[in-house]
Subunit: 389 residues, 2 copies
């Protein structure tokens, strides 16, 4: 039996089944179980103040740094559902805990789909039972499929550290989303030996330079969660640095897969801001440019429109990102189109490839950062307007 | 001879001529002259750090609270043009001052059009001479036409206060713009008697609740300027309160005209946030919702998608806008679709009219504010991607 990427690290089983929560009839309930010996866990959740029940539950249950399993469903985000939605989440987790013979507080929950609707309890109940029955050492791929919403492909990753332990992962979603669907869920696994504090630190390091720098359409979801479970089954102690590097590699690969599958996008855009006084300044400038509809439509039109880029750079407050507008330089796909804040001779820029590299030099310092985004296309408008709740 | 709105207040002449700065051959140079007896002036300019030469010149020349004329051109923003662009701006203003027999520092400048290109000096020189020759007491309408870029109609307004003095105005542009064109220029005139400080205060009051609450696509231009000239020709002293009210009325009317002409828009959206702890909190929430592409595409699809609205409300930090997500209510076109943070019975919402009213109640206080925006449509993507610099 070949193992899937998520369950390739030792000590994990997973499943993905069809409960009927999605009208499409595709798989919609996933379960990832950590068989130990360790039950170390960490999770990062959306910063949105309007949070789904699953997010609050996960925050409470992972606070002690331990978890035995992550239950996930697609087809319904169970967000903005009030006390009834919270009770639904508790019931699903209790059922899973009973079937696995663990405490409910050792189960984490990720839900994704339409906002404002409760999950059909009977269908979910049956789906959970089926998922527990289907748990397998090669079940990661089925789990990856069961968390998809409008994804056109499921996303999996595997990082072999060469140190006797590895990292696996699955992900769903991206910023450019079908209407009212919550966005991103990620589950990572590792068989390294580590503490909860080390795992939490490594997860924060990894997401800060990967998922946190992916800004597809600037819309923050109510359900985003990145889970990581460590089984310790390799028996090998990972150093904090190794753990951070391995999780970063896994997250970077999944982030790229999310970007490539963003709905309606024709171009993947990497905005690198250099010459900044701090990494925070570089991120702020990159994010401002990534959120400009005028920049994103220009890229859709294969137009290296640097005027829109520098106009957007200029919107970042001076206390956030100090720079002199007369020092700005912009290079698109290797061609410098603006230097010293003015037009260059404007040579031809080839914009036909899917990948577009925008390089902005603030000329103010030595820090840099890269933000990834997409272009704004007719397909984005169509996919996000043609649907009625 | 009938007077145009801009020159209806006593003491003003204006002109609009064709200099050939636009490929379309439409009028592109405008001049508005204040014949006094007073020469009181104020101006508010873009907060963008990447500013056109005209913006810096206007800030310097209006600092003393006096101006005799505003020179404007469309077809070229003269932004990101470095020292040469600054010299071009000075030359245009000096020529205008010489022809009018006033000091160069009493001329203000507004320019709009493509970023990164200098204005053709010979064409502009001839255009300025033609504009001075064409100055007339009914020239306001021609001036309004000459500042248009992608506007489908020119914008004019007139407010008769019934106190013996009035306010006139012209405007161009809107946030949803053709590529690389700078955005908004407004010229207001009044024959009231007032001081420069009073005029400046009234202008800030007026723009804070009108143009500053118009957020068409979140993109801040390099050239935005609102000018106001007071001639005192009525001989009537306006109280500060009267002046603020009259300018606010004129600005509100022009802001509505800009919104209605925003490119590619199918819906004008008024987002009213009430129940806020402060007006700043209400503005922050309204602006966040106005900038959500997921909300804007949903409205284009006539979809009363409140899940996307509350998800966007939740992105506003708690220190900016305190509220409890469990208290949120959303009403769309008079139908309450979300109450106490949850779905209501979801009655039918009729979204077919051009005007859409989104009412968000934070349930946290007594302050409120309204932000105006547009939907995000195929036409917006087309008009902003089909053009190549």
């Amino acid at each position: 039996m070949t193992s899937s990427p998520l369950t390739a690290p030792a000590g994990f089983r997973a499943a993905g089944v069809t409960a009927g929560l999605k009208a499409s009839g595709r798989p919609d309930v996933a379960l990832v179980v950590n068989d130990g010996p360790l039950a170390v866990a960490a999770a990062l959740t959306t910063r949105n103040r309007v949070r789904a029940a699953a997010v609050d539950l996960t925050r409470r249950h992972v606070a002690d740094g331990t978890a035995r399993a992550v239950l996930l469903n697609s087809g319904c985000a169970n967000a903005c559902t009030g006390p009834a939605g919270r009770a639904d989440a508790e019931a699903a987790v209790s059922q899973t805990a009973d079937l696995l013979g663990v405490a409910p507080t050792d189960i984490l929950l990720g839900q994704t789909g339409i906002i404002g609707h409760r999950v059909n309890q009977q269908l979910f109940h049956n789906g959970i039972a089926a998922a527990v029955a289907a748990l397998a050492a090669d079940g990661g791929t089925a789990a990856a499929q069961a968390i998809c919403t409008t994804d056109t492909v499921s996303k999996e990753t595997f990082v072999n550290t060469g140190e006797g332990w590895s990292v696996g992962g699955i992900a769903k979603g991206a910023g450019m989303l079908a209407p009212a669907l919550a966005t991103m869920l990620v589950v990572l696994t590792t068989d390294a030996v580590c503490t909860a504090a080390e795992l939490d630190t490594a997860l924060r390091q990894a997401t800060a330079v990967t998922f946190d720098r992916l800004d597809s359409d600037g819309c923050m979801s109510t359900n985003d969660t990145v889970f990581v479970l460590a089984s310790g089954a390799s028996g090998v102690r990972a150093t904090p640095a190794q753990l951070g590097e391995a999780l970063t590699s896994a997250c970077r690969d999944l982030a790229r897969q999310l970007l490539s599958d963003a709905e309606g996008a024709n171009h993947d855009i990497a905005i690198t801001v250099r010459g900044a006084t701090s990494q925070e300044a570089a991120v702020a400038v990159g994010r401002a440019v990534a959120r400009s509809n005028l920049v994103k439509t220009a890229i859709f039109g294969n137009d290296p429109n640097w005027g829109r880029i520098v106009a957007q750079v200029g919107t970042v407050p001076a206390d956030v990102a100090p720079f002199d507008p007369a020092e700005l330089a912009v290079t698109i796909n290797g061609v410098t189109v603006c230097a010293a804040g003015q037009a260059t001779a404007t040579p031809q820029v080839d914009m036909r490839a899917r990948d577009v590299a925008i390089d902005i030099d603030l000329g103010a310092g030595a820090a840099q950062a890269t933000i990834w985004t997409n272009d704004l296309t007719h397909a984005y408008v169509h996919e996000n307007s043609a649907y009625t709740t």
